[in-house]
Structure formats: structure tokens, C-alpha cells
Amino acid sequence: MTSVPMTQSSAAERDQHEGPFLQVENLKVTFPTQDGPVTAVSGLTYSVEKGKTLGIVGESGSGKSVSSMAVMGLHDAKSAQISGSIRVGGTEVVGLSESHMRGLRGNSMAMIFQDALAALHPFYKIGGQLEEAYLVHHSSASKRDARRKAIEMLDRVGIPQPDRRVDDFPHQFSGGMRQRAMIAMGLINDPSLLIADEPTTALDVTVQAQILDLLQDLQREFNSAVIIITHDLGVIAEMADDVLVMYAGRCVEYGTAKQILTSPEMPYTWGLLSSIPDVTASTDARLIPIPGNPPSLLRPPPGCSFHPRCVHSSKVAGDLCSTELPELLPASSGTAHLKRCHLTDPVGVYRSEVLPEIAPELVEETR
């Protein structure tokens, strides 16, 4: 574990600092287990500016939650080893003391979780849980101020009759309302960074759309940096400015949403695109799940971690794919677009082999 010099900045400094609000560099998260160390995230670098949304996509187990929880400092220091650098508003949080970290959590940065029913305490009223989140960072505020703030936030996220519903318990809310309440709780202290870990997965489609709209509205209003974690490229298409594709704990492709969705250069991203039917809104597109299973993080395969499942590795000379980890290098569509793959002509392969599979009508247009 590399120790990083601790920079402690005041709230004022934090707001004035230069550059993106969140900067993650070379993040590595390892869990020592009985069978050996599990490296859930490695070499992860990304940044998010205020007012922008980063989408993180990847299969289950690819390290999306683990990396975001590292940003929030939610890993147990005893069971997770974290190295690299995470700067939140200019403050280095890797190695930051627990008491400083507590001042940031829920205040400068907030996280909302997938299953709101499980994530809210079943025995406390919604209002009480919101008030608690407010009071812990506003020690001079009164209980009445906190309650007023809680009702205001519930109103803001579209809970009807917030002054009455504030006294409900979580189980008395519908699924969509619970997620709204989670969002209200996350935003109650005007955080500059909001991490939404699969905020809509447990909800039905119409409610999903409402929640995503709400998040977008609130982001405009609060001008916060947002990270949205999802399996769903549809969510990415609607919400994200930038996209980070993760596979087996690593970034395998990074770019603007347009670059990732229209000219992806990494076979795993192609696989993700194939597995959703509506990326191009074409009705006859087919759902092609990626064959095979994610690799073991305990004993990751040598070389490119995707090679056991990759149908294009034969196009790479020699056995490079199974021996050498490809670096994250600029792609052909622009400097901000990065990919981790040995293929020499990914654009050609995509046009000739992938696009006809997932969106036949697009092939004509791009010719």
C-alpha cells in the first residue's frame, strides 16, 4: 500500500480548487481473503467535473461498487487495502483520517444505493433519517430546522404531501418513493459529488424513467458532479456525459458517451452493446448476451482479462492476448477516448462484423 501525503483542506479551499471535483488516479482495491488477495479494482483512473455525469458500466462483479465505495471511504480499513489517489475537491482521501472522512461523507459527497428498502433503516421514520443526515453536518441547526429541511427535500424530489409523509416509515412508501427519499437524503447537504449506485435497478420501467429524470433535474439545480453506476447502456445513453467501461476491476474503455455508444473499439464494449436491444432504437436488433463468465479475481487470467471470452482474439498476432495485458491507449476517434485492447484495426472489425449483428440498418448509413 503506497501512502499518499495527506492534504487537509478547508471547505473554502475545497470549493475553489482547480480542475475536476473528483480525480481518481491509479486506484487499486485489494481484499485479503483466506484464499489469497482479491484485487477487485486496479489501475483505475478517471475524473468528474461539477455539472457533469460519468457513467460506469460493466457486468456484475466488475468492481463498480467497490471503486465507488473507495471514493466514499466506505471500506473497512481492516478488510480492504486501498492505494492510488482519490482527490475530492482537492482533498486527498486515500489515507485520510476517519474523522476527516466523516466530515466529507454525506456532506461534500453522497451516495445513493440500489435497494432503497434495504438501505433505509426499517425502524426509523423517513423524516428522522433525513433529519439525522442533515444534523450530523449542521451541528448548530435545531431539530425544527432539520425537520423543515427534510420536508423541503421530500417536496423537491416529488413526494406528494411531504409534511405528512415525512412521518411515514420506509415500508409505508412505494418503491419509487423510497428511492426518491434516498435521493432526498443524499442531496440534503448539497453535496458536490453524488454517486448513484444502480439507483433504478429495483424499480419498474416507468418509475425508472421518472427517477432518472429527477436525477437530471436535480443535477442541473445543484450543479453537482454525478457518477451513475449501471448495467444498462440505455441509462448511460440518457444520462452520461462520459462513460467508463469496467471489466474485471479494470477500465477497458473510457470516452464520451457518444464515442462509447457509436464508435466503441473494445470487444467487451461491443458485447455490452449487443446485449441491449434498443441502443439504436431499432426494432429488429437482437439481444446477444456475452457468452462465458467473468474471470476469477483471485486468479485473474494472464494477458487481457477478457481473452477467454473474446471472439476477436484470433485477429491479434501471436498469443499476445493471453500473455500481455494491453495498455489503456488513445483510440482512433479522439484523444479523450481510451481503450485497452491489442486489436490493430478495431474500427474495421466493428464496422464489418459487429455492427451488422447489432444494428444492421446502421451499416448502410456509415458506409
Binding site: M72, G103, G106, F113, D115
Partner: protein, 336 residues
């Protein structure tokens, strides 16, 4: 909620009826005549066939069982006068009969023994919680460490000893071997008569034996419930809010973990109130537990019946209270 309580009380009365019938039948159709022990005692073991017949007749054992059971039930509501051999014993409502050994109305003796048993139960239960919960929480917070493992295995060891042996050893060592000053004169001394200090010192060792043995179980419960609660999503949420760890552990974790612990505690406390046979016997406390032991040994049917009914009443009420408390603690539970 009110309707629920009424419903439960009605079913409680049904249970009491069944328990009393069961005991009645067991004695009635037992291997020897129910009048045999009292006849033996009153004739100094020279109970002849004729004398036995007199006892059987006056006690009503020649009548059909349902008729006698009917008299018993009636006595509970309006009182009755019992005849044993040539003597008459008035028994006011609620009449539970007259002890075959002391000839005292059972109810009065029962009432006089409640304070002793209640004192034992209060102190023991207090120690269950006083030690069980904090140690359980501490172990859960240090889950997997050497301290946690040592604690869990030593408590497992204590709770694998049979309780009567544990209580007996406690008594033996603390009163005979070491003669712990002040506390060696065990027994129940009513506060009203002997003052609080004598009351406390007489019961102290019984509480210690009961408390240490029982708290191991509470430690394990609390630890388990706490480990489970601390792994819940809402604990992660609490942490993400920036709450201090004390608030997370107690207000969020313990609050949830207490629900199952309180449930078990309610039942245990009821069991203690129904009488602790070993504790009372070993520490010479004249409570309901010891009384029931004597009654069984002396085949004192009315007393056995009374102690069994008393246990049933206490357990029915404590079960009901547990359900009510549960619904207060967990807002998701609705009683119906």
C-alpha cells in the same frame, strides 16, 4: 391491537382449561389412589383400606372425574368448602384447593411465595441484560479477533455445563469453601421485614449463578443479532451519511439487533417468574419453584395443580407482552 389482545387472552383461557384438565386426569388415573399420600401422612403410615376409603370418599375420588373437575372450576369462581376425612376447610374464591400437607388454602401460600420468586427473577434477568448485551455488542464489533473467539468459546464452555451443576458449584465454592462474607447466608428475606440489605445479600449468590449462566446465552444472541444487523445495507447508508461510529453501532445496529433479543428475554423472564426450581432449592429460597418441587415429591395434588396453572398463566401473559412489545419495536409488524 385491542382486539388482538382480547383474542389472545381468550385463547389463553382455553390453554389454562386444558392444562388444568390434563393435570387432573394424570393424577386421577395415576398408578395409585390420589388419596394414598394424604392417608399415609395423616395416619403415620398406618393407612388401612378402610381409612383410605374414607379419604377417597370425602375427597370425592369416588365420583366421576368430570363432576370433581366441575367442582374445582366452580371453586375457582365462587369458592367452596373442602372436606378431608372428618374436617372441613373453608376455601374462598378463587379457590385452588387446600394443600394436602399443610391444609392451608393453596392460593394463600402461592401468593405468599410470589415475592421470593419475583425477587430472584428480577435480579437474574437484570444480570442477563446487564452483562449479555454489552459483551455481545463488544464481541460483534471485534468479530473474528482473538478476544472475540476467546469470549465465544469460554461462554460456550459455561453454557455446556448443566445449570444445576453450575449453580451447585457456585453455592459450594462461594458459601462453603470461601465463605464469602455477607452473602453466605442465602435465602429470601422480605424487604418489609428484614430491610433491603438483608434481602439483597440473601439473594445475591442466586442472582450471580443465574446471571452468569444466563448472560452467556444473551451474549451469543446479542452478538449474532448484532453481526447480522451490522452487515445490513442500512448500516452502509448510515456510514455514508457521515455518522460517527458510535451512532452507527448503537442507534442503527443495536436498535435492530435488540428486537430478537427482547423477544427471547420476554420468554425467559416469564420462565424465571414461573419459578426456578434449581436456583431456589440450592440457595434455599422459599419461592414457587421449590414449592412445586416439594409438592411433586409429596404428591400434593392441589399444589401441583396450582403451580402448573401459575406457570401457564405467567407464560401466556409474557408471550402476549412479547408480541405487543415486538409490534412496538418493529413498526412493520401489525398485530391482527
Amino acid at each position: 391491537m385491542f382486539a388482538y389482545v382480547v383474542k389472545r387472552l381468550i385463547s389463553g383461557v382455553l390453554v389454562l382449561t386444558l392444562v388444568s384438565m390434563g393435570i387432573f386426569l394424570l393424577f386421577w388415573f395415576g398408578p395409585s389412589s390420589p388419596a394414598q399420600p394424604i392417608c399415609d401422612r395423616e395416619t403415620s403410615n398406618r393407612c388401612t383400606q378402610e381409612k383410605l376409603a374414607v379419604y377417597e370418599k370425602t375427597l370425592g375420588y369416588n365420583n366421576p372425574v368430570y363432576e370433581e373437575y366441575g367442582k374445582f372450576v366452580k371453586g375457582v369462581f365462587v369458592g367452596r368448602t373442602l372436606t378431608i376425612a372428618s374436617n372441613e376447610y373453608p376455601c374462598a374464591a378463587p379457590c385452588l384447593g387446600v394443600s394436602f400437607r399443610t391444609k392451608q388454602p393453596v392460593k394463600e401460600e402461592l401468593v405468599s411465595r410470589i415475592p421470593a420468586t419475583f425477587s430472584v427473577a428480577i435480579g437474574g434477568a437484570f444480570l442477563y441484560l446487564l452483562f449479555g448485551i454489552p459483551i455481545g455488542v463488544a464481541a460483534a464489533r471485534r468479530r473474528g479477533t482473538v478476544a472475540d473467539k476467546a469470549l465465544v468459546s469460554s461462554f460456550l464452555f459455561i453454557s455446556s455445563i448443566p445449570y444445576y451443576l453450575f449453580a451447585l458449584l457456585t453455592w459450594l465454592y462461594l458459601t462453603i469453601t470461601f465463605e464469602v462474607p455477607l452473602f453466605s447466608d442465602t435465602g429470601y428475606f422480605a424487604i418489609t421485614e428484614y430491610g433491603p440489605f438483608k434481602w439483597f445479600s440473601g439473594l445475591f449468590l442466586a442472582w450471580v449463578a443465574l446471571g452468569i449462566f444466563g448472560c452467556t446465552q444473551y451474549t451469543r444472541f446479542t452478538r449474532g443479532a448484532m453481526v447480522e444487523a451490522l452487515s445490513e445495507d442500512y448500516i452502509r447508508t448510515a456510514k455514508a451519511k457521515g455518522l460517527p461510529s458510535r451512532t452507527i453501532v448503537y442507534r442503527h445496529g443495536l436498535r435492530a439487533a435488540l428486537v430478537p433479543v427482547v423477544t427471547i428475554f420476554g420468554i425467559d423472564f416469564g420462565t424465571l417468574l414461573a419459578g426456578t426450581i434449581f436456583t431456589e432449592r440450592i440457595f434455599e429460597i422459599q419461592g414457587i419453584g421449590w414449592w412445586s418441587l416439594e409438592a411433586v415429591q409429596g404428591r400434593d395434588l392441589p399444589v401441583v395443580m396450582a403451580t402448573a396453572l401459575f406457570s401457564a398463566v405467567v407464560l401466556i401473559i409474557s408471550n402476549l407482552l412479547v408480541d405487543v412489545i415486538y409490534s412496538v419495536l418493529d413498526p412493520r409488524v401489525r398485530l391482527s
